[in-house]
Every structure is written in structure tokens, then in C-alpha cells.
């Protein structure tokens, strides 16, 4: 492992899975936590929402303790989405097919991070595909952030910008489909290679159209009122847009070497609320388009000629997915997966969501807070067997 080692806490906290606590530079054994809700006090009620209810994209259950209106405590039960994936002892290409399908909407982030870990384990030089992968990840970020902002508009009852953003999301998806032959990057990624026609990526219209919607939303006092000072959370253990919305320059594009960004500086806001997370995501859509436009001019000379030196080894990688740090650890033996572990950004985002929603919010703020973290439960509840 070039960038990681097993040991104690070192650097910022990235997240946990059922085996490990992962930090910026180390992988530590998991210290388990309880997801037990506080006893209700007199007159309070347990308000149950989900796992099968309107307004939720995935099966997830919330148990809320409330004296009415305010949320005193909450648990998030995501186990309804639990999947056991038969992946141990698979060869790398079969495993990749399964990894891509863990969360289709973020297939590129998962596949790229998984492949980076494999390449680390097998000591493969992957510099030739670095920029192509960045383009891919940033395209995915644009679509994902548009989706989150669209859902915030839906929560606020702003149907027109919501529909405009859905249209824009579809437009980006079609650009991806034209360039990579699949709307969700399926089968576009290989060891040290990305299959795609990068000449078909043209995002200038997306930039202008998003900018117009974004500025329109910033002019709406009603929209701003609903987002500002809602779901405030500032926590040192945070990642992705949620961390950057609290002033932390936490960004794997800056502090991880798995995927090398050239001179990227993270955009941060200080106020830690839903509005800040909206600001960070919006600005990152625009900066991602800039990154892609710059890299499109550079990739012509990139060569994908990395050779496989070993057929066994241990590797780890961390990249910045649209929701925050995503981490993969692999152990390969004779080109087969011996051990596999993944940490999703949704793990930390759920912890942050719980703190944010309890912080002086009422039940009607719930959706703004939930959507602003862009949590995907499907990534959380995965057991590799």
C-alpha cells in the first residue's frame, strides 16, 4: 500500500465500515458505536417515518423523538437496504461489474476508487488514465450536485427550478451516455484505462444554464429563508460538501494522492447550514466544469501503457466522490479478491445529518436537512462475502 497503512488514528477521520475506522493516512480496527435512541420524556412521542413512505428515494427508517414540532433525538435505520455481495474470490473484472452496481448513480466514483486500490495492490502505473478518471468523476459530481439541488428545490416546493434541474441532470446524463456509451459509466472503467470518446464532452451550455438557475434561486427570499440557519452542524469529523460548508478544507482532491488533481483548491463557506451546503455544491458544479474543460485539452497525449507487475498484494485508495471521501481497501491473491472493504461518505454524512437535524430544527425542516447531505443508503449497507 503506497498511501495507507494499518495502525492507529492518523490524520482526519474518513469514516467507518463494519470492520475498520479509516483515517486520512491509516486504517484502524473498528470501535463500535450504538445506534440507540434516547428514552422519550413525558409527553414526547416516537414519530416514525419510513422505511416505506412517500418522499424517500431509498428504503430507510427514521425514528424521531419529539415533544411536537422540534426534533430532540433521531435514529436512522438503514438496514432495510442491506445487501450481501458475493465478491470474495471473484476475479478483478467480475468484481468490478459488481462494484459498479453498488450505487449506480455514483458508479464512476466506486469503480474508479476500487480500480485505484487494485492498481495500488498490484503496483500498476496508472498516470496515463489519471486525467480521464478525473473528468469522469467531475462529470458524475456535476450530475450528482444538480440532483441534490433539485431535491432541495422539491423540498421547498419550488417546482419550476426543480424541473429545470431535472432537465439539466438529464442533459448531463446524455452527455455521459454519448461519451461513455452508458448513462451511468457502466463498463467504462478498466485497470489503468477509461473507455470513452472525450471529444463529445461539451459543457458550456450546462455552465450557463446552471448559473442562471443558481442565480435565480439566490434571488428568492423564500428559498433562502428555508435553507438559511436550517440544519446547522459544524463537526471536525465530517467530509465532502458538508465539511467544506463548515469551513473545513477537507477534500480528497487536495489531500489524497490516489487521484492527482493539479493545484485544486477547495471552495469553503463558514456558516455550516443547509444553505452553505447548497452554496458549496453549486459552486463545485461550476468549478468541475472548469476542471473538465482544462483537462479535455490535456488528455490527448496520455498513454495507458501501465503494466501489471504483480498478481498479489494489498492496496487502498481514497477519492473525492460527490458526497465526500470514498475509500476502498483490497487484498488480491493470484488476481482474485481475497479481502475487500469500502467506506462510503454516507456513513459520516448520516452522523452529521443526525446532529444537524437535532440542532434547533422543526419537523418541516427535516427534508431540507436530509436532502442537503445527498446521502445514499445503498452504499452504506453492503457486506462483501
Amino acid at each position: 500500500m503506497k498511501y495507507y497503512k494499518f495502525g492507529n488514528k492518523n490524520g482526519r477521520y474518513i469514516g467507518s465500515n463494519n470492520k475498520y475506522d479509516v483515517y486520512e493516512n491509516t486504517i484502524a480496527s473498528r470501535i463500535s458505536e450504538n445506534n440507540v435512541i434516547t428514552e422519550k420524556k413525558p409527553y414526547e412521542i416516537y414519530f416514525n417515518y419510513g422505511p416505506s413512505a412517500g418522499g424517500l428515494r431509498e428504503s430507510v427508517n427514521f425514528n424521531i423523538v419529539t415533544p411536537g414540532e422540534t426534533i430532540r433525538d433521531i435514529t436512522v435505520n438503514s438496514h432495510y437496504k442491506r445487501r450481501k455481495i458475493n465478491i470474495i474470490n471473484n476475479d478483478i473484472n467480475t468484481a468490478l461489474l459488481k462494484i459498479e452496481r453498488i450505487n449506480g448513480f455514483h458508479a464512476a466514483s466506486n469503480a474508479v476508487c476500487f480500480l485505484l486500490a487494485i492498481e495500488d495492490a498490484l503496483d500498476i502505473d496508472n498516470t496515463g488514465s489519471n486525467n480521464k478518471r478525473i473528468i469522469e468523476i467531475e462529470l458524475e459530481r456535476i450530475r450528482s450536485n444538480i440532483d441534490v439541488i433539485g431535491r432541495l428545490c422539491e423540498s421547498a416546493g419550488f417546482s419550476i427550478p426543480e424541473k429545470q434541474l431535472l432537465y439539466l441532470r438529464e442533459k448531463v446524463t446524455r452527455i455521459i451516455s454519448d461519451a461513455f456509451n452508458h448513462r451511468y459509466f457502466f463498463s467504462a472503467n478498466y485497470i489503468n484505462n477509461v473507455h470513452g470518446d472525450f471529444n463529445k464532452i461539451r459543457l458550456n451550455n450546462v455552465y450557463d444554464e446552471f448559473n442562471e438557475i443558481y442565480n435565480g434561486l439566490l434571488e428568492s427570499k423564500i428559498f433562502m429563508d428555508r435553507l438559511q440557519e436550517t440544519g446547522i452542524v459544524k463537526d471536525i469529523n465530517s467530509s465532502g460538501p458538508a465539511a467544506r460548508a463548515s469551513g473545513y478544507k477537507y477534500d480528497a482532491r487536495v489531500d489524497s494522492e490516489s487521484l492527482a488533481y493539479d493545484g485544486y483548491d477547495a471552495y469553503t463557506v463558514e456558516s455550516s447550514d443547509t444553505f452553505s451546503r447548497f452554496m458549496v455544491r453549486s459552486n463545485e458544479i461550476l468549478s468541475s466544469i472548469d476542471i473538465i474543460n482544462k483537462l479535455l485539452n490535456k488528455i490527448g497525449n496520455d498513454k495507458n501503457d501501465g503494466k501489471i507487475k504483480n498478481n498479489s498484494g494489498e492496496g487502498a485508495a481514497r477519492i473525492e466522490s460527490p458526497q465526500g471521501d470514498i475509500f476502498y481497501y483490497v487484498n488480491i491473491e493470484d488476481n482474485r479478491i481475497k479481502d475487500l472493504s469500502m467506506v462510503s461518505p454516507s456513513y459520516l454524512n448520516i452522523e452529521l445529518f443526525k446532529k444537524a437535524v437535532k440542532n434547533n430544527n422543526i419537523l418541516t425542516d427535516f427534508f431540507f436537512v436530509w436532502e442537503s447531505f445527498g446521502i445514499w443508503v445503498s452504499e452504506l449497507e453492503v457486506d462483501f462475502i
Binding site: 420524556k41 409527553y43 427508517n61 415533544p67 411536537g68 414540532e69
Partner: protein, 581 residues
Amino acid sequence: MILYYLPLILIFPAAIISYKFNKTGYILTAIASVLFFIFTFRIYDYITYFYLIAAIVWIITSLFSITYSKNYGRWLSPLFILTVAGMMVILYSTNFLVFISGWEIMSIPAYLTVAINKKNDVEAYVFMFFSEISTVLIITAGVLSFYYTGTLNFVKINNDIVLLIFAIGAMSKMGLTPFMISEWLPIAHGSAPANSSAVFSATMTLMGVYGITKLALLSPESLYVGILFILIGIISVLFGALYAYISENMKSLGGFSTIENNGTILSAIGLFVAVNNSILRTFILVTIVLYAMAHSIAKTGLFITIGHTGSEYFSEINNIKDNENSLGKFFILSSLSGLFPSLGGLATWMVIEAFFMTAFLHGALGVTAIIAGSLIAMGEGFATAAMLKIFYFTDRGNKKHIKYESHIILLNGIILVLLFIISPLIIGRYYISGIPSVLIFNGFMIESRFSNADFGLISPLYIFILILIFTVIAYMVFRKPRIRVSERWNGGIENNEYYNSFVYSNNIRLILKKILRTKYGNNEALQTVDLFWLVMIDLAGAYRKISKYIAYKFMNSSISMYMIYMILAFVLIIIITSVVY
């Protein structure tokens, strides 16, 4: 003459008999109340309308008590009947002495009721303390009246100070701002059974209203006293309605609702005292009487409904839904919410009309009236929310009903609707008319006016008939609604929790948390604080501190200090006497 006083002759023995035979005592009280109404009520003599109100409440509570008081021992019935007897004496009184005697006959059994059923010592003392403050002030008013008129009889007085002092005394009994705790504390702490709570809340406070109205009729118009009453009334309306809405104790909710209603009545009395237009004054007087009638009868119904649940807190309720009870409750709570088709709806309309009409008098009174009218309307809005809480959260579960009590609740509701329908018969003819061209015949419409122009119009009978016709049409078209009850879908999770009354009213606890000081308390429940109670405690603390200081500094068994004290007292008396004479 003997017939006129027959109810009084009947009720005192009833109190004694009831110690042994409480059912007989209650029935005799109901009979005495009927006779009292027959012998004293005179149409268009608005002060006698108070007799009608009191009689209706006593009849309903006596009938309800027959089953209700079984669990409260032997002493409840004689004390209850003595309290009623005291009120009867007040209503018969033509001078201060009899009035004060009645006031004490009414109050002392009331303390005893609270003391016998006590859960803590505090309630009975608080109740007694504020009642005695009211007695002292009423005696003072009587002495002043004697000083100005040379008689203790209720006669015309040319000075508004008697009314002011009497009113402050009565306010203490009515639990108005700043004496709110005198009303709700014993009731809220469960030390008063529901039948006594009904009598305390509906008629004991009515005696205060009666006294103030009687003196207001005898006193000159006074802009300042009037505006003062309006201000105190409005504060009581807003805080009473607010605290009612957030109360988890049902009796406390009823107590605060009384404060709100009495606040409205005091505001209307204030308007009566301040206005100098005779037609408008008469309209306001009718308004006061009808509002007091609606409040007292509906409040009796409210306490009976609460007593019928067999619980004190919403969280303890375990009753089954019963159509008869629900219908009666619907009319009672409509009345308390100021909604049609009930007397409360009409009375609230009249109060707001009276205030808005007064705006045409311009000046300070006009401005005060329009603001007061708007705030009272707002208070009624809060009251509706509080009443909805009672309506929704007083029946669920599976406890057996006492059918007899449901009949009484329905009877109470029907009385409120009937009074609404026949109200044009008891309101002065000047305000009754019709518009035959649109088929509203003469005699069926109430007009609010104080000059030639109409201000507002209402026809209770037509409102009732329209509601009835539309209900019947809806029933004929849609028939009885087919209701299928099923377990609710809880997202696939088994544990079912129900929305409760506390959660229902928590929005206001949070919105007004600066006033209510909402926070998690010692028992870890989310709590609010009654500001007026806090102020009273602070005042009591300050009083004790000063007393202690005086006791140690000046009354410390030092003979020289006593000599100085006595000399100063003599000098002061000489000065006061020489100034007065």
C-alpha cells in the same frame, strides 16, 4: 313575598339534608334553582338575566352531581349546596351588607371543598388568600359607598372610585390579571372536584361580573376606569387563551378559559363604563349579559365533560367515543370558541360589534376600542384551538361511559343552541328587526346599531335553519358516511404511537418561548412557566423580606420603638381625620 324568598328558604335546609341524603339535597337544589329563576327573572330587565344564568348552571351541575359526587365522601354535597346558597344570597342582595354576607357564605364552603379534597396544602390557602383580598376590597368599596351616599344600599353614586375598588376585589375572585392564580391553582391541582370546578368557574366568577355590572349601572361614566378595565380585560383574554391552549391538565384548561372569558366580559364592562351614548350602552349591557350567559353555561358543560372523562390530564384519558357525548360537546365547545350555532357565537359577535361600533365615537376610546376588538378576536382564535384540543383528545380507548352524564352534556349543548335560536326574544326590541324583502321577517334579526344606520346584522334562527337544511340535504344525498376503521400504516413499522395533546399545542410553546420560558424541567418534560405565578411568588418573597426587616428593625420588642410607632400612628390618624373632615 314569601314566594320570592322561597328558593332561599329551600336551599339552606337542602344543604343540611344532603349530608345524609345527598341525592335529595341535589334534587332540592335543582328545584330551588328553578323556583329562583321563576320568581326573580323579568324580561328586558338585564340585571335579572344573571339569575337565569345562575339558575341554569345550578340545575345542570346539581343534576350532574347526583352520579358524579359518589366518590367524594359526605361533605362534598353540603359544601357544594352552601356555595350555591351563598351565591343566591348575593343575587338577592340589595345592599352591601347582604352582598358581603353572601360573598363569604359562597367562599368559605369553597375553601373547605378545596381543603378536604386537597392534594397539597397550598391550593386551599391560595384560594382563601385571594378570596379574602376580594372580601376586604369589597368591604372597602361598601364603606366608601356609605361615605359618599350615606347608605349601604345599592344606590346611585357620583364617584367612580367605589366601582374601581369593588372591581379590583371582584377581579381577584374572577382570577383576572394579575390574580390569575387564584382561579386556576386549586382547580388545576385537582383539589376541586369537577362539579365544584364548574360552579367555581362558571358562577362564582359570575358573581364578580354581576357585582361589577350592578355597580357600573349605579356609577357615572368614566373614561379612565373604562379604559383600565379594557386593558386588564385584554391582557387576561390573551394570556388566558394562551395558557388554556398549552394546558395539559384539563381542569386547568377550563380555568384559563374562564380567565379568557371573564377578560372579555371585563373589557365589555369597561366599554360600558367609558361610553356615554345610551343606545350603545344598552347594546353593550345586553352583550355583557349574553356573553356571561354563554360563558357560564358552556363552562359548566366543559367541566362536566372533563369530569365525565374520569381523568385530570389528557394523557390519562381512556374513554370510548360516544355520539351523544360528542354532539353535546360539539355545541358546548362551539360556544366557548365563539362559533355558530351556539349562544357563544352570538355573544362573541356582539362583543366584537360593540367594540367596533365604539370606534365611531373617535378619540382615545375609539382607538382603544378598535385595538381591543381586534385583540379579543385574536384571543377567540386561540380559544378555538384550545377547545379543539378538548374536542379531539377527550375520547379514545375503551372505558365504559356513564350514560346519564352523556345526557346532561347533550342537554347542556342543546340549551346553548336553543338560547341562540330564541335570543331575539330576550334582546331589547330596539335591536330587533327584519328585512321582509329578502324573507327575513320582522322579529328574526338582530341589528347592532347606535344611530340610524345599521352596523351589523345577524339572524340566529335563519342561521340555525340554514345549517339544519344543509345538514339534512347532505345527509339525504350522501347518507350516513361509510366509515371503515383500519390499523394505520406506519411505514411498515409495528410500534404505533399516537399524536397527543401536548404535541398538538407545542407549536405555541416554541413560538412564544421567550414569554413562556419553554425548557426541559426537572422531571425532564418540556415545561413552560406561568409568568403571573412567578411574579406573585416574587411579590410574596419581597413582602416577606420587608416584613422581616421591619420586624427586626422596628418591632423588635424594644419599648422605645413601640412608643415611636404609637406616636407616629396617632399623628397620622389626626392628619388623615383632619384632611377628610
